[in-house]
Amino acid sequence: MAADLTRLRNIGISAHIDSGKTTLTERILFYCHKIHRMHEVKGRDGVGATMDSMELERERGITISSAATNVSWGDHTINIIDTPGHVDFTIEVERSLRVLDGAVLVLCSVGGVQSQTITVDRQLKRYKVPCVAFVNKLDRVGADPVKVKDQLREKLGRNAVLLHLPIGLEDKHQGIIDLITAEAVYFDGAQGEVVRREAIPADLRPEAARARQDLLDAVSMFSDELTEAALAGRETPDLIIEAARRGTLSRELTPVLIGSAYRNKGVQLLLDAIVAYLPNPAEVENTAYDLDHGGKEIVLRSDPEAPPVALAFKLEEGPYGQLTHIRVYQGAVRKGAELLNSRSRSKLRVGRLVRMHADSMEEIEEAAAGDIAALFGVDCQSGDTFVAPGLNLAMSSIYVPEPVISLAVFPTEKKSADSMGKALRRFTKEDPTFRTHVDPETKETIIQGMGELHLDVYVERMKREYRVAVSTGKPQVAYRESIAQRAEFDYIHKKQTGGAGQFGRVMGFIEPQPEKPYEFVNAIRGGSIPREFIPACDKGFQAALKKGRLIGFPITGLKVTLTDGAAHEVDSSDLAFQAAAKGAFWQAYAKAKPYALEPVMKLSVEGPAEFVGSVFASINQRRGVIVSSVEDGLFARVDAEVPLSEMFGYSTVLRSLTQGKAEFTMEFLKYARVPAQVAEELIALHKDKIEKEP
C-alpha cells in the first residue's frame, strides 16, 4: 500500500499497434521483478507477453483489455493500466484514460507519428493527461529518433525535447546518452539488468553538448532558478529534472526518451522518468458529476477520511467469478464497508479486496484515494461508480453513443446457443457500446457496436474464450429516420365488436427537434384526456418510434405535443389510448416529410504521397467529403467524412490501391441526412421487405 501518495503513479502506455508496447510492458514487469522470464509478443515460446491476458490479443499481437498491474520501482509504486491501442474501442480507451494520471506515449523510431498515434494523442489531450514519449525500436533498420522528436513537434504540436541521444543505431545500437547527467548509459548482463554509467564517448561529445543546450533552453522556461544556474554554468541534474517535471505536469513540455525494449535498452531510464516527470494522484484534479444537482461537476478530495468514491473501470471474468477493477478517487474503500452503486442504486458490501499483479493477486484491507484495486463478487457494469451511502455522484458521464452497425450471429451448433448467450451477456456488461438483442421478426440474435472491427473482435472472443463457433450475417448500418417539418394529428381510435369497446381521441402535433431523440409534452388544459391516460399516450408514441415507416429504422429527433383529445367514460383504457397515440403518430408522420439518416465516420488515411490521387478517388467514390490533406515530403495524410455504409471492405480496397503501403483509422462522427438517390433505394428496399411479409 502506498501510504504516501507522492510515491504512487497511475500510468498508461499508449501507442500505435506495432510500436512495441507489449514488449515494453513486459520488460517493465521484468525489471520491477514482477516476472522472472521474458517472452516476446508473438511468442515463439507460446506464452506471450504477460499483460496480454486474452488469447485473441496474443494471436494478433495487439492489446484490447485494460487490465491493471501493480509494480514497484525503487521506493515508488506504479500501477500500469494497459490501454487499448485501436480506435474502434473508444469507450474502453476513454475509460482507461480517465483512470490514469499520466501516460507513456510509445512511438516506433522508424514509423514515427502514425495515424493511430494522432488518435491516441488527441485522446491524451482531450483528457488532459501529461505524458512522456518513448521512442522505441532503436535497433531497427531506419531508426531515427531525432526525426520522430521533430514529428512530435510538427505533427502533434507538442513541445517535445530529447532527454537522451542514442549511442549507435540499428544493429550498432549500444546504449544511450543521458543528457541530464551528461553520461553514457549501458545496459549489461544477459537481460540488460545491470545499468552502467560512464563518460560520453569522445566522438559523441560535440553532438551531446548541442543537444544538452537545446534541452536546457527548453526546460529553463519552467524554472527561473535553472535559468540563473545555467547562465552561471552551475545547473544540476536535480534542477533540470524539477524544471522538466513542471513543464510536463502543465502539459507544456513532452520529454522524449529513447531505447529498444526488445534489446533491453533504456527501459530502466524510462521507469526513472515515469517517477520523475509524471504526476502522483494528488497532483491531478479529479471531478465527479453531482447527480443531485443536474450533473454539475465537483472536485474530489484525496483525503482518506473523506466519504469514498470509486470507479469500476474494467470487469474481468476470472476463475473465481467476476473481478471488478476499481480506482479510488476520494476517501478509502475498506474491506467490509458498505457502498452504493450510484447507477443501479443497489447497495454492496466490500468483500475480498485485492491488488493485481501481473501473475498474482494480493489481499489488502483498504484501497485509498489514488489507488487501483479489484473487488470480488460485485454485480455491476463497467463504468459504474461506487460511493459512500448518502452521496449521489457519478464518475463517468451517463452518455453512451448509440451503436452504428449491427450483425446477425448464429451458433453453428445447437448446443452452443447457451454459451453464446453467456458470452454476449458478459460482453454487454463490459462494454456499454456493445449491445445485443433478438430481432422480434426474424428471431435472429443481433449484435451492435461502433464499427466493423469492434464487432469482429467480439465474434472472435466468442470463439476463443467461450468455444462458440458462430457464423455471421452481413453487417447492417444503423440508419435512423427523422422529420423535416411540423405536422398535426387528430386521431380517433374506436372499436365496438361486442363486449367492452375501445375509445380514445388524441390531438396535437409533432415537430423536429435535433437536440434530443424524443420529447413528450402534455399541453392539455382542462382534462379532455383524463390524467391517468397520459402516460399511455406517451407509451404509444414511443412504441411507434421504434420502427419508422420510411425505411424501417428507429425514428429520432422529434417532439410530440398533445393539445387536446377526448375520452369515453366506459370504453377508454390505457390500451385504447396507446393505440390512439400510435395511429395519431403515423397520421402525422406521413405529413411531416420524414427522411433517412445515416452514420457518418471520420476517416483518416495515411501513406506515401504518391498514392494521394487513388485515395482521393476512393473517398469520392464512397460519397465521402475530403476535409483536408497534409503532405510532408513523401508522406501524406488525408482526412475525410464518409458514410459508414460505403466503408465495408475498405481495408482490402485501400491495400490494393496502395500496394499495402497505406493504412486508415475510422471513428463515428455524426448522423447525417442520406442523399435523395440513396434514400430512394433504401425506401424501395423497405417496401419490398414489407410486401414479402405475410
Binding site: E154, G613, A617, I619, I626, S629, V630, E631, D632
Partner: protein
C-alpha cells in the same frame, strides 16, 4: 437575410468592379504585406465569399496546421453569420464546409511540381470541381520565377483563378513610388492582380497596385476591419 443578398452586398463586389470584373480564370492575384497585417484574413474572406456563391474552393497552405486554418474559416463564417443573421446558420455552414478542401504542404523540400500534381489529383481523381484556389504561405523569395510560371500555366490549363499571399520580409522601404513591393518586382510579370495591405489610421488599407494589363489602377476604397477581420468599405 438570404445568401444571395449577402453575396450581392459584400464589399468584395467593390473589389471585383475595381479589377474589371474579378481576377478571372487562368490568372494569379497576390495580396502582399508584412507578416501579421491580415493577408490570411483577406484570403479566407475571399474564399468564404466564393463558398457562399456555391463555388468550391481549395485552400493550399504551406505553413499553418490544418486546425488553425479551419479556425480561421469558422471565425470568418461566424462573423458573417452574426452580422447579417443568416438562417439556418448550422445547415448553411455544413453545406459550405463540403465545398472547401484544405491541402497542407510542408514547404521545405516540397517541389511545386508535387503540389500541382496533388492539386490536379484532388480536382480530377477526387472530382472536386474547384474554380478558385487560395495559396497561403507560399514563399516568394525562396521560389524561382519558374515556380510562379508553373502555377500560372496550371491555372490556365485547369481553368482556375489563384489567390496568393506574399509575406514581405525585406528591410524598409518596402514599396516603390507606385506602391509596388520591391521584393515582388522580379516576378511582377507573372502576377495579374496585386493588392498591398498597409496600416493607415488604425485600419489596414487595401491598395490595388496592379490590375491585369491596365495602367494606373483606381483607388480601392477597401480596408480590413481590425475587430471583425473582414474586408470592409471604409
Amino acid at each position: 437575410m438570404v445568401i444571395e443578398d449577402l453575396v450581392k452586398r459584400s464589399p468584395l463586389r467593390v473589389l471585383e468592379r475595381s479589377i474589371h470584373g474579378g481576377l478571372g480564370k487562368g490568372n494569379i492575384g497576390v495580396l502582399a504585406s508584412r507578416k501579421g497585417v491580415g493577408k490570411t484574413a483577406c484570403l479566407v474572406h475571399l474564399a468564404t465569399d466564393k463558398l457562399f456563391q456555391g463555388k468550391p474552393v481549395i485552400h493550399v497552405s504551406y505553413a499553418s496546421r490544418v486546425d488553425h486554418i479551419i479556425t480561421w474559416y469558422e471565425d470568418i463564417f461566424r462573423e458573417l453569420a452574426r452580422r447579417i443573421e443568416i438562417e439556418p446558420a448550422a445547415e448553411i455552414h455544413d453545406e459550405l464546409v463540403k465545398k472547401r478542401v484544405i491541402m497542407n504542404f510542408n514547404q521545405e523540400g516540397m517541389r511545386t511540381e508535387q503540389v500541382l500534381r496533388s492539386l490536379e489529383a484532388m480536382i480530377r481523381d477526387g472530382r472536386f470541381a474547384a474554380e478558385t484556389i487560395i495559396v497561403d504561405g507560399f514563399s516568394f523569395p525562396q521560389s524561382s520565377a519558374d515556380d510562379l510560371r508553373r502555377f500560372k500555366e496550371f491555372a490556365g490549363r485547369m481553368d482556375l483563378e489563384l489567390w496568393f499571399s506574399a509575406s514581405l520580409k525585406a528591410p524598409d522601404p518596402l514599396f516603390d513610388e507606385q506602391g509596388i513591393p520591391f521584393e515582388l518586382k522580379p516576378c511582377l510579370d507573372g502576377i495579374d492582380v496585386l493588392i498591398t495591405l498597409r496600416h493607415w489610421n488604425d485600419r489596414v488599407q487595401l491598395r490595388l497596385v496592379k490590375d491585369h494589363g491596365f495602367s494606373s489602377p483606381p483607388e480601392l476604397r477597401l480596408s480590413l476591419d481590425p475587430t471583425t477581420l473582414l474586408i470592409a468599405e471604409p
